[in-house]
């Protein structure tokens, strides 16, 4: 249970810093950290599928989009060493926690993904199809808006 408290504290602190930081790149760095911490919390609660989705979609896809836009808008701002200190410390805390928890034998048992897959493709099959249509519509709309 202590992993829950430490990781969610890291998530809250990182989100707060993301919301109050001046530079967009710093905010994005803190938001990646917040997504990773939240993913650890979700994994600890026993939902490995959602934890993987959190890392892939939030810390991966969405943040890459944000970083692209920030780099397109003002490419001159770069990170200095001092502003990396707090995110580095928080991320190190996350890694240490993951290592410590991973050595505990009961941790690996919760990783069965089969019930979720059955639910996704039997009960919620229509939902998955509609989500794919939603993503296609989003892609087309972004293309249409981005065109000159």
């Amino acid at each position: 249970m202590s992993l829950f408290y430490v990781a969610s504290t890291i998530a809250i602190v990182a989100t707060f810093m993301a919301m109050i930081s001046r530079h967009a790149v710093h905010a994005l760095l803190y938001f990646v950290l917040s997504a990773l911490a939240l993913s650890l919390v979700i994994y600890d609660l026993g939902a490995p599928f959602a934890a993987v989705l959190e890392v892939i979609i939030y810390a991966g896809a969405i943040m890459v989009l944000f970083v692209f836009v920030v780099m397109l808008l003002n490419p001159s701002r770069d990170l200095n060493r001092k502003s990396l200190l707090l995110p580095g410390l928080l991320g190190l805390g996350l890694v240490a926690e993951l290592c410590w928890k991973n050595l505990t034998p009961a941790f690996a048992k919760a990783s069965a993904g089969t019930p979720i897959m059955i639910a996704l493709f039997q009960e919620y099959g229509t939902l998955v199809e509609l989500v794919s249509f939603l993503l296609l519509a989003g892609l087309l709309a972004a293309y249409r808006i981005g065109k000159k």
Binding site: F4, Y5, S8, A11, I12, T15, F16, A18, M19, A24, A27, L28, F31, S34, A35, L38, V41, I42, L45, G46, A47, F49, A50, L53, E54, I57, Y58, A61, I62, L65, F66, V69, V70, L72, L73, P115, I116, A119, L120, Y124, L127, V128, V131, L134, L135, A137, G138, L139, A141, A142, I145, G146
Partner: protein, 90 residues
């Protein structure tokens, strides 16, 4: 179960704080992401405590909506920047 809802509410409040108080379009979109993330976390956490898998299905739905929304939002932000030469509001 209470602590999950407390963490989720704090994250949602921080996102709402960012949306309301920041004057930068990029931070407003980031705040919306934080709020969606907090809501999805509440779904997953409560479903895990109740021993169901439906929360993770809902997480997939919310993450897809967030991805589609941020794609369109960032495209609009680029168009706004092209027209007004800034992404600060007001």
């Amino acid at each position: 179960m209470n602590e999950i809802l407390v963490v989720s509410s704090i994250l949602f409040g921080l996102g709402a704080f960012g949306v309301v108080l920041r004057r930068n379009l990029l931070f407003i979109l980031l705040g919306i992401e934080v709020m969606l993330n907090a809501a999805a976390f509440a779904f997953v956490g409560i479903a895990c405590k109740l021993g169901q898998v439906d929360g993770q299905v809902m997480f997939l739905l919310i993450a897809s909506v967030a991805a589609a929304e941020i794609g369109i939002g960032l495209a609009l932000l680029m168009a706004y920047d092209r027209i007004f030469k800034t992404i600060d509001l007001g």
